[in-house]
Symmetry: C2
Subunit: 136 residues, 2 copies
């Protein structure tokens, strides 16, 4: 979560929520977030697969919220981005010949499960609309 992707996604959705139902291009979004338009499309791809945003190609195309902002929970956004396997150990597996190495993945997975659930509880308490309403 602290890799910036959630921040980008939230920024995108905030812009879409304030667009008044108009299609917003990735280039415009990129200008506000101050990143490359391709990165915007990367994130919107995840959000689109999760059914949070809709896209339209061609002239005057862009992105739009797929449903009302008060029906989008920030936990939905989190899940849309991090729906992969729980990455307790990304690359190197611990040494199975070591008593600790053999068991730690399971224990860490349990701990991570608790932690992630707590995170989702917090994010699930806030809708996108509530978040956007905090802006002037």
């Amino acid at each position: 979560m602290n890799d910036g992707r959630f921040a980008i996604a939230t920024h995108i959705l905030t812009l879409l929520s304030r667009s008044g139902g108009h299609w917003v291009s990735s280039e415009f979004i990129a200008g506000s977030v101050n990143i490359n338009p391709v990165l915007v499309r990367r994130e919107t791809a995840s959000l689109r697969r999760a059914g949070i945003v809709a896209c339209k190609e061609g002239k005057n195309g862009g992105y739009l919220l797929a449903r009302e902002s008060d029906l989008i929970l920030l936990s939905d956004v989190y899940r849309a981005l991090y729906n992969g396997p729980p990455l307790a150990f990304a690359k190197n597996r611990p040494n199975p010949a070591c008593e600790v190495g053999r068991q730690i993945e399971g224990h860490l997975a349990a701990l991570y499960g608790e932690a992630e659930q707590a995170l989702l509880d917090v994010l699930g308490r806030t809708t996108l609309k509530a978040f956007v309403d905090r802006f002037d």
Copy 2:
């Protein structure tokens, strides 16, 4: 947190907790975690700055818990590793000319604060000793 650093640190501390008060070298730890010894030293450097582990150079040197394992909370470990500024936006600052871009960092920081606190609450409920006791 999902970058593997916490997993490595927890693994290290588990090994130290089971060492029976003997100094454990970074190379031995690396063998169990299955990573390069330098990465172990990187993490122990953070843990040492936080006063969680002690180190000794020279022959028969290595690392040791700086205090009893039931006095080390997993939240202490988390704070030791991620004590930097809240990285809501790591690299590119949002466009200040945009109404959303100007405000989103603050709103995200508030949200991240809540989320991180929930995480710390979970981790703060478990001591290193309790975690290690789950191993056979």
